[in-house]
């Protein structure tokens, strides 16, 4: 049984499961570093996931062959655009209107849930799940498998764990590395961190506080859109109502666990992804281990609480996070 659970597929699955969390968590990191709490990530992802599938379905059902072929890519683009718009709403509410950021995020989450549910019925005539998208996105790499032997086994591990993914999975890794570098080595990063720690100090040296925060929230929109597209277009191939299932919140916990750094967020997401992958694997053995499936399903949520409980008090958030900035 052990080898059926612990195999390269488990690790590959963990990385896949971690991807939407990681993208959202990195988005959350960038937002919070700039001083904006982004509880809206849940809704931002959901909207992205939905509109990605809507556009992929629409383009895929035409009879223009290039459009059909491009349909999942157009879907990803649509997901990003929709999520950025949603993030823009959060930015407007919490930065310009100085609304309570958690409340604004909650409103967006409800709005996203309502909007996707409503449009689902309006567009497709039924709630629940959409049709599968006609054209899927394949793995980026496709290497031939060498013939038998120990080398082949080793290769199959490497192939599965390193080279088996769809584009957004790699995008998340790149986002983590580039984000980390940008945050600590560029002007943009220094300014961003100043905004979250002491926005007035940034203001008095001529850094535009509100604009900087807008940019941060919109970037989280791009990342949230990619996360949603990964979920619906790359992983599932269709849209289910409320398919984000609390991932936006888990992502925020991952961001905290990762100490408000992009790479930390990615690694923390990997932990949650692994838990998710493991519980899916273990479900196959529930008749053997005699544990109801619901307890496996709870695992990621329980883990989130445990991690938060363990890490809080030792992790230090940006000083001004959650506080709207107001000029004198």
């Amino acid at each position: 049984m052990l080898s059926e659970v612990i195999n390269p597929e488990l690790f590959a699955s963990a990385i896949r499961m971690a991807t939407p969390l990681a993208l959202a968590a990195i988005g959350g990191t960038i937002c919070e570093r700039s001083g904006v709490v982004n509880i809206a990530l849940e809704g931002i992802m959901l909207i992205g996931a939905f509109f990605g599938v809507v556009v992929a379905l629409a383009a895929g059902s035409t009879h223009i062959s290039w459009l059909v072929a491009a349909s999942p890519w157009l879907g990803i683009l649509a997901a990003v655009v929709a999520s950025v718009l949603m993030a823009g709403l959060h930015a407007f509410a919490s930065i310009t209107l100085r609304m309570d950021q958690v409340v604004s995020g909650t409103a967006i989450n409800l709005l996203a849930l309502g909007l996707t549910g409503f449009l689902m019925v309006t567009l497709y005539g039924h709630p629940g799940t959409t049709d599968p998208i006609p054209v899927a996105i394949n793995a980026v790499f496709n290497f031939p498998t060498p013939a038998g032997g120990l080398l082949a086994t080793a290769w199959s591990w490497i192939d599965q764990i390193v080279f088996s993914y769809t584009p957004i999975v790699y995008a998340a890794m790149i986002a983590a590395v580039v984000g980390q570098w940008a945050l600590f080595h560029t002007r943009w990063g220094l300014h961003l961190r100043a905004l979250g720690e002491h926005p007035r100090a940034a203001d008095t040296v001529g850094i535009r506080v509100l604009r900087g925060r807008y940019v941060a929230v919109l970037i989280s929109g791009v990342l949230g859109g990619l996360a949603g597209a990964n979920l619906s277009i790359e992983q599932v191939g269709s849209f289910n109502e409320n398919m984000t299932a609390g991932r936006g919140f888990i992502a925020l916990a991952a961001n905290i666990f990762g100490r408000w750094t992009p790479i930390g967020s990615y690694l923390a997401s990997l932990l949650f992804g692994f838990a998710d992958a493991l519980q899916i694997k273990l479900q196959a053995f529930q008749s053997v281990v005699q544990i109801p499936v619901q307890f496996f399903l709870m695992l990621p949520y329980v883990l989130t609480v445990v991690v938060l409980a363990g890490v809080m008090g030792r992790a230090v958030a940006p000083a001004e996070v959650g506080k709207p900035y107001e000029k004198e």
Binding site: R187, L190, A194, T204
Partner: protein, 514 residues
């Protein structure tokens, strides 16, 4: 020609005229003191010059040319720099990161940290302002942080430097050092505006004084032709008592006794390192010291906000070492906290609700968890009357009162409770002369009624004016004790920065020139 000139600046907030047709000018090579009480409009005027506030009318001229300053960015561009009263430093950043913030060297958006460090070192050497470019701000002393602020302005090419109450947090020695630095800067061609309400500093440092009152310039003079009394009259508009009358103390029994107390700060570092003190009834003990030397932790431990690591605190012989606030209040401890808006009051509560904070869980205000409205209202009306809180009624929210009235409200609550011990931290911070006088009289009245008073203040003048005994706190320990009258600012100041008895005596013997 003036390097900076303000012409007919008017700035109003609804209901308040903060600046009314204010004009002033500043020449290169001079230090001008902008003197006035809290609320006189000094900071508003300088915030206009620095682009943080937009004036309703009037103009700003730099080198004789009218300029439009709509943001600090514009101000920096024309060579104006400002050191704010509350430092504009990003705590987790290094000195270098703070200094170059907004104007980082580098290409394509990538910061060249080596170059940045080099420039910081250059500018600090050129101006004799030594700093460690790689130190984190959070680890620096307040005086050092101020130095970083000045360097920040110089890095940006400031020719005009505005300092807002720069001495509020410094020891006498640090103040003198600061003034030497400022003098060197003006000698090299800078122009400096010093916002202050302290008369002695004006006499010491300024070439010229502009006095403001109620949003207007009410006079201009030079220190050579006036004295402190004259300046005070100009500033307040009437003759003022610079020091409240104080009768001799009649100390009674020891009420507060602290033994070998050790207290940690938030970061788990020892902030109070085994101190002991006794306060008798009918006596005011003042603690002098630079902010951040353990005073806050000591006060918080005594009133029950912070658990001491070890040691013992007792009130009237009863141990209260680990008693939480609820119990210390019941035992007779009252606390006027250093930040009335953050710790002292619930600004969104009305006055009555604020006046029962601390009494809210016990008779007569509440029995079995139920609050009695009538009792609350009676208490509120009585305390508002007794402590002269200016308000139409207790239904007003505390946030709508002026600073002076808010402090009266805190006093009304804490003293109205008839405590055995009053612990007052920075009781007059940010108040105007009238309110300061009121607070001082009330504290003295408590003493004269036989209460024990422990007062912490960064204002050395205040400690010296009120205390019967003075303890100097440095790095979590008491390093010196003086009886009233035998202390002078110079000696206390030396102890505040870690000087030894010998140094203190040498300093005094040397004529106090330091």
């Amino acid at each position: 020609m003036s390097v900076l000139a303000l012409r007919e600046i008017t700035k109003t907030f609804p209901g308040v005229v903060a600046n009314e047709r204010v004009s002033m000018s500043l020449d290169a090579g001079e230090i001008v003191a902008l003197l006035g009480e809290n609320g006189a409009g000094k900071s508003t005027l300088m915030n206009v010059a620095y682009g943080l506030l937009a004036a309703d009318s009037g103009e700003v001229l730099v080198d004789g040319e009218p300029v439009r300053i709509r943001s600090p960015r514009d101000a920096i561009a024309v060579g104006i720099g400002m050191v704010h009263q509350h430092f504009m430093l990003v705590q987790p950043f290094t000195v270098t990161e703070n200094i170059v913030l907004g104007q980082e060297p580098g290409r394509f958006g990538v910061i060249d940290f080596a170059e940045a460090r080099k420039r910081v070192r250059e500018i600090s050497e050129r101006n004799g302002l030594e700093v460690d470019p790689d130190a984190r701000i959070a680890d620096l002393s307040v005086g050092m942080q101020q130095r970083v602020e000045i360097l920040k302005a110089l890095y940006r090419g400031a020719r005009i430097l505005i300092l807002d109450e720069p001495t509020a947090v410094l020891t006498p020695q640090e103040v003198r050092e600061l003034f030497e630095v400022l003098r060197a800067l003006v000698d090299s061609g800078l122009a400096i505006v010093l916002i202050t309400h302290k008369l002695d500093e004006v006499m010491l440092a300024a070439d010229r004084v502009i006095v403001m009152r109620d949003g207007r310039v009410v006079g201009e003079t030079t220190p050579s032709v006036t004295d402190e009394r004259g300046l005070a009259r100009l500033m307040v508009g009437r003759d003022v008592v610079l020091r409240v009358e104080r009768g001799s103390p009649h100390p009674g029994d020891v009420l507060l006794e602290v033994d070998d107390l050790v207290v940690d700060d938030e970061r788990g570092l020892q902030a109070v390192r085994g101190v002991g003190l006794k306060v008798r009834g009918g006596e005011i003990v003042g603690i002098a010291g630079v902010d951040g030397n353990g005073q806050r932790e000591l006060v918080e431990a005594i009133v029950g906000l912070r658990r001491p690591k070890s040691g013992r605190i007792s009130l009237k012989g009863r141990e209260i070492t680990h008693a939480p606030v609820r119990e210390t209040i019941a035992a007779g401890v009252s606390h006027v906290p250093e930040d009335r808006q953050r710790r002292g009051l619930v600004l969104q509560f009305d006055l009555a609700e604020n006046l029962i904070l601390g009494d809210h869980a016990r008779p007569p205000v509440a029995t079995f968890g139920v609050v009695h409205r009538k009792v609350v209202e009676d208490i509120a009306e009585r305390r508002i009357r007794d402590y002269d809180v200016r308000t139409p009624s207790w239904r007003v929210l505390a946030g709508n009162l002026s600073g002076g009235n808010q402090q009266k409200l805190v006093l009304a609550r804490e003293l109205g409770r008839d405590p055995e011990l009053l612990v007052a931290a920075q009781p007059t911070r940010g108040l105007d002369v009238g309110a300061i006088e009121f607070v001082h009289r009330r504290i003295l009245a408590e003493r004269d009624e036989g209460k024990a008073v422990l007062m912490v203040s960064m204002e050395l003048d205040e400690v010296m004016a009120l205390s019967d005994r003075i303890l100097v706190m440095y790095r979590g320990e008491f390093v010196a004790e003086f009886a009233a009258g035998e202390a002078d600012a110079e000696r206390i100041g030396l102890f505040m920065t870690g000087g030894t008895t010998r140094e203190a005596e040498a300093a005094v013997a040397g004529g106090g020139a330091g």
